[in-house]
């Protein structure tokens, strides 16, 4: 049996979770997921300003905190912290190890960055069509900020076989981080589809950190103990493909069939066809049981061969947006916010400003759900203590969006009464970095695995 822990569900997740995972009980592998879809474009911008940047700096700091523990407890680390510059990240980690006087072996998984060869690919007729709209990438080529292939678990396995203590990747599937150790430790083959699917589902279950151990859990949420000290998830994986999801003893949160089911369905498409670079996992074959307190066992998982394609994540500049807010107080808060909305729309119209979209929402009334069933009833609406008008515009003309931002503050004096600007001032204009999902034949790209021996 091996123990695979997750200590980070996204870049910005708890800084203490990875440290706790290493120190508060036994684990063999620590996996960390730093890369959301928009993260790559942010990192691309950072590297454009500084060639040494473009990776998750939090990761390097975290390694600085726990490296002695990792070595003493023989825990290996797998993280997609490399972002757009995995080699730069490895250099930084290497420098930390040297400073601490702890020799470690680092491996880098790269080759996922398509940006340098993007035009060459397009010229050869690989059109990187948008998976949702079918439009070819050429339509937005000039706006592209980043383009990365999602590799699977096997390049990470190669790094582990090379003896790496820390594996730093660029873009790989989130599930590959948790799957790779099982393939490596148990010698699973590239066509052990059921086992690869099991490892993939284990990876999916832990990839969002505490979201499977009681965090963001709707099932009896008020009774979940000590979320302040919530334990992050651990997979106890067996060579036969069965596994248990658990957490360290003495930590907060709760691992139940219900908490695990919620995470299994998170961001789910067709449950029979969960497609990754390594396999297709069938979520309708999972059998769960509560085999102890904070322990849920997974069995029966079936898988199939993957497709001939890698998924590609492309980010591009898609215009500008700005969002402003005003809060209106009782009585008739909702009616006042609605009146302010109408006034704003008229003023933008008088100014002749054109936008792709104008959107108003009423926080406190029905902004989140947005459905008729959630509208405040006529007797409740006038009694709401306050309602926030959230008003946004989006378009290609930066000057028009900028002009809109000047129309929010005046509402404090020249619109409906009993209003506060929430101290936020004038809204800011933001670049919109949008996401373009595509596919590419696996023959077109090759992962590059490099070992980084520390010679300190």
């Amino acid at each position: 049996m091996i123990r695979i822990a997750n200590g980070q569900g996204f870049w910005g997740d708890s800084l203490e979770a990875p440290v706790d995972q290493v120190r508060r009980g036994p684990i063999d592998y620590l996996t960390l997921d730093y890369l959301a879809e928009v993260t790559m474009s942010i990192l691309q911008k950072q590297r454009a300003r500084d060639p040494k940047a473009g990776y998750a700096r939090d990761f390097v700091e975290m390694i600085g905190r726990v490296l002695p523990d990792l070595t003493r407890r023989r825990v290996r680390v797998i993280a997609n912290a490399g972002g757009i510059n995995p080699k730069g990240c490895a250099d930084a980690v290497d420098a930390v190890a040297e400073r601490l006087g702890i020799p470690i072996k680092i491996a880098v998984v790269a080759g996922d960055d398509l940006l340098p060869q993007l035009d060459e690919l397009l010229n050869r007729g690989i059109d990187l069509k948008n998976m949702e709209t079918g439009a070819p990438l050429s339509v937005i080529r000039s706006q592209v900020q980043s383009a990365n292939v999602y590799f699977g678990a096997f390049p990470i396995v190669q790094a582990l076989r090379g003896g790496a203590d820390i594996v730093i990747t660029g873009r790989v599937t989130d599930t590959a981080l948790g799957l790779a150790p099982t393939i490596h430790e148990f010698g699973w083959g590239e066509d052990d589809w059921d086992k690869l699917a099991a490892g993939t589902i284990a990876g999916h279950t832990i990839e969002c950190g505490a979201q499977c151990t009681g965090g963001n859990c709707q099932y009896d949420w008020e009774t979940i103990p000590d979320l302040a000290g919530v334990g992050y998830p651990i997979v106890e994986a067996e060579p036969d493909g069965t596994f248990v999801i658990t957490k360290h003893a003495g930590t907060g949160g709760r691992v139940t069939v219900a908490s695990v089911k919620e995470q299994l369905l998170y961001e789910m498409g067709d449950p029979r066809e969960y497609i990754t670079a390594d396999c297709i996992a069938d979520f309708t074959t999972i059998q769960l049981d509560q085999c102890g307190p904070d322990r849920v066992r997974f069995r029966g998982i079936k898988g199939r061969p993957p497709t001939a394609f890698y998924k590609v994540s492309i980010s591009y500049i898609a215009g500008f947006k700005a969002l402003g807010s005003m809060v209106y107080a009782w009585p008739d808060a909702y009616k006042k916010a609605r009146a302010a909305e109408q006034i704003l729309r008229k003023r933008l119209d008088h100014l002749g400003l054109q936008f792709e979209e104008i959107r108003a929402e009423f926080l406190g009334a029905n902004a989140c759900h947005g459905i008729p069933a959630a509208e405040p009833s006529p007797d409740v609406a006038p009694e709401l203590a306050e309602v926030v008008l959230r008003f946004g515009v989006r378009g290609q003309d930066r000057a028009a969006v900028e002009r809109f931002t000047r129309e929010i503050p005046p509402l404090a004096l020249n619109g409906p009464p009993v209003v506060s600007g929430l101290g936020l001032g004038r809204p800011h204009v933001e670049d919109i970095v949008a996401y373009w999902p595509a596919l590419i034949s696996k023959h077109e790209v090759k992962p590059e695995v490099t070992l980084w021996p520390s010679e300190s």
């Binding site: 709707q218 947005g370 069933a373 996401y435």
Partner: protein
Amino acid sequence: MAKRKLIELAHARSGDKGDTANIGLIARKPEYYPLLVREVTAERVKQHFMGVCLGEVERFELPNLGALNFLLHQSLDGGGTLALKADPQGKTYSSALLRMEIDVD
């Protein structure tokens, strides 16, 4: 015929893929699952999300988990960073679905 709100019978989690929201609806007890299958159809969900879901609703069954998964296409104002919504990733659509009332016998 008696009516009950889904929040008494099920729990849920939602997320996004581009402009598509997904909602996983999970029976609180195994005996509730057939009720969910019978009552919470793709058509009813489409109707429930009137004005929010502008595309198709697809439904998938996971009897092994006592759960249904719904895909609500064109439901996130363009999705991700394009959206001007307070909830651009549809994270709160889970409990929006739990407002639905269904017939129980």
